[in-house]
């Protein structure tokens, strides 16, 4: 594809092969939460990247919400030894 040829020209000094890039993109695709992962060959690299960015942003937001929830819980909880003991029991 023409876009891939121009890409390798831009990265001429770094000697990255298209196969390496495809390999990395497919690894990334496997991590993405897709409805039907069977059709993994049909995703274009650009789409995989777009979904990766969206997924990372949504994960960041999730961690934000969780840290808000945790900060509220930590404010109200007066015992910190209790959660430590419980986490040990969890293991």
């Amino acid at each position: 594809m023409s876009s891939r040829r121009s890409r390798s020209r831009h990265s001429g000094s770094s000697r990255v092969t298209d196969d390496q890039i495809n390999d990395l993109v497919s690894k990334l695709q496997q991590l993405l939460p897709e409805m039907h992962n069977r059709r993994s060959d049909k995703k274009s690299a650009t789409k995989v990247l777009q979904e990766t960015c969206n997924y990372i942003r949504s994960l960041h937001r999730e961690v934000d919400d969780l840290s808000e929830r945790l900060s509220e819980l930590l404010e109200n909880a007066d015992t910190t030894q209790a959660d430590l003991i419980r986490s040990l029991i969890m293991q």
């Binding site: 960041h60 840290s67 945790l70 959660d83 293991q91």
Partner: protein, 211 residues
Amino acid sequence: MSSSLLSANPALNSGRSSTRRRNKKKIQSHAIAENLSSNDQHQNSPIEWKSETQQQIYSSKLLQALRQVRNGDGSPAPKRVHEAADRALATTAKGRTRWSRAILTNRLKLKFMKKNNIVKRQRKVMTSISTGNSRSQRKSKVKILRLKSKSLPAFQRKVRVLSRLVPGCRKQPMPVVLEEATDYIAALEMQVRAMSALAELLSVSGSSSSH
């Protein structure tokens, strides 16, 4: 070795004064800097973020960090909690990835840069006044940026966006960014799992202790 230094120090320093905490962080960043040279051989063994062990390691580090956040301020702000969670995540990564090292060195950088930025800005103003070059420099930089964003193919643009999302990857070449993103996503997923489990634990214990 230095990894045991990382895990031993939080236990020692919990409940001590704030100067001890600052020193501990400096020691941690130096230990990570040392690991940079020795870990070049270890880079082929990435962390398995899906394993239960890693989640437990992270959960214990997170608990330690959160206890320190509580002892530091009266009411822990969500931002502090998030920063502590990210630092615990980066520590669990054992400095094998760029994003983890970037998270851990960012704290020191912020502390230094706040003091140094004022000095740097003053120096820039003085040099621009004396040489009168600031206008041309700014214009050329903006021009270059605009050209790049228009002529780059979509794939390269997305990689650039991705490199801004993953910490420590802004100037890295494309395969590095993709690799870091792979590890970062797995780590973030584990962070979400661990934090939600902890939140469940705290909410359950909170409701039961009130009765």
